[in-house]
Symmetry: C2
Subunit: 506 residues, 2 copies
């Protein structure tokens, strides 16, 4: 039976049960437990929704979806840019025990069709903005029933009360953003969400009055985690459907936001003037890749409580996060591993690195996904011993603080020397002419590879001055051998640089 | 082997593994992970100790205890009134994998000897204040090695690094305070502490800058929980060795305390004047039995953020706790069950009560202890299906809020009517002449039992006026048939009324 397959997927992957530490534990549904609360659950583009109202909407949406025939364990593709609608849908699918498969709204139609087909979804739920895609996907996949949804719509006749939550059940399948290679669907369980929410709260603190602002896409793990954490904490998620620096800043300046999730590119744009953020803002959580040190230093100098985190889809967001009190003393570190998560550094021979030794970051813990969809053999990434090989390069210092250098596949080896693009990018970004920078490798007859850079610049811009600026701060083999200026750097929906694409330009 | 016995005790008790939900999961030692932090870990009677310093003291104390021959799994009796010394000892024993058995410092020598013997301790650690007891216990139990400890003392030669923590291991055995019957030793695991700390944080909030003040005895579960939570959160515990209202209030008025644990008797004494508590004080956590409504109302009227909780030793403190935002709208309720805990109400025929139906409170969840020391058969209290029968009487309303009426054994049945002493006490306490009140049952030839009261009063006091005050608010069968005035009501070390003792007075 299909419905049992997803639920049992975990056993197929984790023979030793090391995935989450929790197996058959059940808890009361998180949202349902809060259904009598009149406090803020979600604010969407300025519109407040209380827990009572959210729970009512979710219960009647779940009843409606049940009438449509959505069943327990079924994988339902969700293609929505509308944050409130996405949240209602996600929780309603949980009420039904169905699995949410968020489709990246920025994918090409081909990619969407591939993903809906790969995950064997029978049902696709879209918002009005994706009517074209809805019709096109149905044409290509005739067995898929696709429904256009809206926040206000005819709902199910009877109220729907959810079962308790089984922590080992799969809540969603999120395809890795796939800056290279074919995307894989990470199976995120309720236990992953609970462990992740708890570990984040223990590191960053949590108040019942918290309001967490984000414009990160909800179809990525960082955005979805804000929704799930809020429901587990009983706090408010403040959603903006797309990042607009003026709107984001304006919302922050209202003074009630306590937490905000950003990536370096969005933080950079928000920091582009002399605004002072309100005192209630406790944490600016910076994820999505190694952060440029100049940006961090600028934030610290201006009293912005920026806290670097290292996370990934397979670990349901955060793995390590700096403590707010350590922001000034540990610039550039992503902090110690979160409670219950373990990080180790392994060199190319498969041996543990000593403190400060650079190697691959490998992780283990209860936030690690139960495996990949459709992969029975997991010898590679999600290893049998419970360690996940991230493909990221970094080191742990003597006190267990993690420093992330780069993606291993982004590493440039030039004449036998390692060049970490993130380090070169950080130097480029300190130059007043440079707005954005990406460093990639170009094949070279003499050195194997040499670093080259793609830049977005402010006028006026003097190439020779910039290169001499770099030579003053970097070893010669690290200085970019070619500069390419563009209007805006290509990024995926999560704000990550698309280096694969840029490599093709050289 | 002794050391394996304690660790396996859980299996003997919980054949279905329903105890904690976590079985063999390991986490890095909580204190050891914080050993590089210079933030406040403990303030003891005004003396600050940072995490770095605490970890150093604990590591060398653990080395010292290892040299004395303390081994993994060994039960070590700890008789200390000195809070900092108690904390160092507790953490050092954890570093060794030994089990802490806190001895209630207010027990008679006979009771102490019985407990040290019952738990089969080979080692007893005392502070200087308990030198007389140390010598006397050794005389009675010749196989026990007893050591006098101090904060400053010769320590072990080498630094001691702890193993990771196995969440199913027993951390401590706390004997139930035993207001009636023979005490039983509740086996509290690391998993209990972790689940408890997490659930408390999710209900009350937690900030890395929190400072939790308490003068509750550390040998009881409420005091020990403050120590364990602080280490799990990485926040500060502010300890006073005994409750003194002036010292307690003075410390609160310094303005940095965010949380404080109290019982009704201590809160009543603190509230005895017109002090305004600082804004940083987020939660006054009120436990130790049903709280008198007049006290709650007085706190709310004065803006004191009092939050009622229902807890017990076997559940490692809190089971249900009100949310801070619900304080005014749910006066008298102990709130919904904490995250992952479940509460049900069962009547005398063993059937579930409907909402608002009064019956025994039964609980289940990951904070529930692994069983009782030396009890292989657990058909009674810790039932095989994972439900703990608390012996407390209460009800859940339609929205899952718990109202605790009284201990079942304190219930008075008078002429076929139930009289809840807590209800009568609450009325007595609203009278301006009454400082403290306890209502117990006295045998009666006509009614079986009748309610009678023990009072501590303010002068002037008019018995007839007080009784007519009661008659105006209570049904006749609930009005005390006899009043006994004393200087101060007898309480155990946790501040609970010793009703067993008072019953003998009539």
């Amino acid at each position: 039976m299909m419905s049992e397959r997803v639920i049992c997927e975990k056993e197929a992957v984790w023979t030793d049960g090391a995935g989450s530490g929790v197996t058959d534990e059940r808890v009361e549904d998180w949202l349902y437990a809060l259904r009598h609360m009149d406090t803020l659950a979600i604010e969407h583009e300025g519109q407040p929704v209380s827990y009572r109202e959210l729970a009512e909407r979710v219960a009647s949406r779940a009843a409606f979806l049940a009438e449509l025939g959505v069943t327990r364990g079924e994988r339902v593709a969700v293609l929505m840019a509308h944050g409130l609608l996405f949240a209602i849908t996600l929780h309603a699918l949980r009420y039904l025990g169905a699995v949410t498969v968020p489709i990246n709204a920025r994918l090409s139609l081909e990619e969407m069709v591939w993903q809906v087909d790969d995950v064997e979804a029978r049902t696709l739920l879209c918002d009005e903005a994706h009517e074209v895609q809805r019709i096109a996907i149905c044409e290509r996949l005739s067995h898929v029933r696709a429904w256009r949804c809206a926040v206000e719509m005819k709902e199910g006749k009877r109220a729907f009360a959810p079962d308790s939550i089984c922590l080992s059940d799969v809540q969603s399948i999120i395809y890795t953003s796939g800056t290279t290679g074919r995307p894989k669907g990470a199976l995120l369980t309720y236990g992953n969400h609970f462990a992740s929410a708890v570990a984040s709260a223990l590191r960053l603190g949590m108040l019942p009055t918290d309001r967490w602002l984000t414009a990160l896409p909800l179809f990525h793990v960082g955005g979805q985690a804000v929704l799930m954490r809020s429901i587990i904490y009983g706090t408010a998620a403040v959603l903006q459907d797309r990042f607009d620096e003026a709107a984001h800043r304006a919302r922050l300046l209202q003074g009630d936001i306590t937490m905000v999730s950003v990536v370096a590119a969005t933080l950079l744009r928000m920091m582009d003037d002399e605004v002072t953020f309100p005192a209630a803002l406790r944490v600016v959580l910076l994820g999505g890749g190694p952060a440029p040190a100049p940006l961090l230093k600028r934030c610290i100098a201006r009293g912005v409580p920026v806290v670097q985190t290292y996370g990934l889809t397979e670990a349901n967001s955060q793995v390590a996060t700096l403590r707010p009190a350590e922001v000034s003393s540990r610039v550039g570190s992503a902090g110690q591993p979160l409670m219950s998560s373990t990080v180790r550094i392994v060199d190319e021979r498969g041996e543990y690195c000593p403190p400060n030794g650079v190697g691959e970051i490998q992780i283990k813990g209860p936030t690690l996904c139960a495996g990949y969809w459709q992969e029975k053999k997991v010898r590679s990434a999600l290893a049998e011993d419970g360690w996940f090989h991230t493909g990221d390069i970094g080191y742990l210092d003597e006190e267990g603080y993690l420093y992330v250098l780069d993606r291993r596949k982004d590493l440039i080896v030039s004449g036998g020397e390692n060049v970490y693009p993130a380090e070169v990018e950080a130097v480029l970004l300190t130059h007043p002419s440079v707005a954005e920078a990406a460093v990639v490798g170009r094949d070279d007859a003499t050195y194997g590879q040499v670093p080259v850079a793609v830049l977005a610049v402010h006028a006026p811009y003097d190439e020779a001055a910039l290169l001499s600026f770099c030579r003053a701060q970097l070893a010669g083999y690290k200085v970019p051998k070619q500069l390419l200026v563009v209007d805006r750097l290509p990024r995926n929906a999560a704000g990550k640089l698309l280096k694969r694409e840029m490599r093709l330009w050289f």
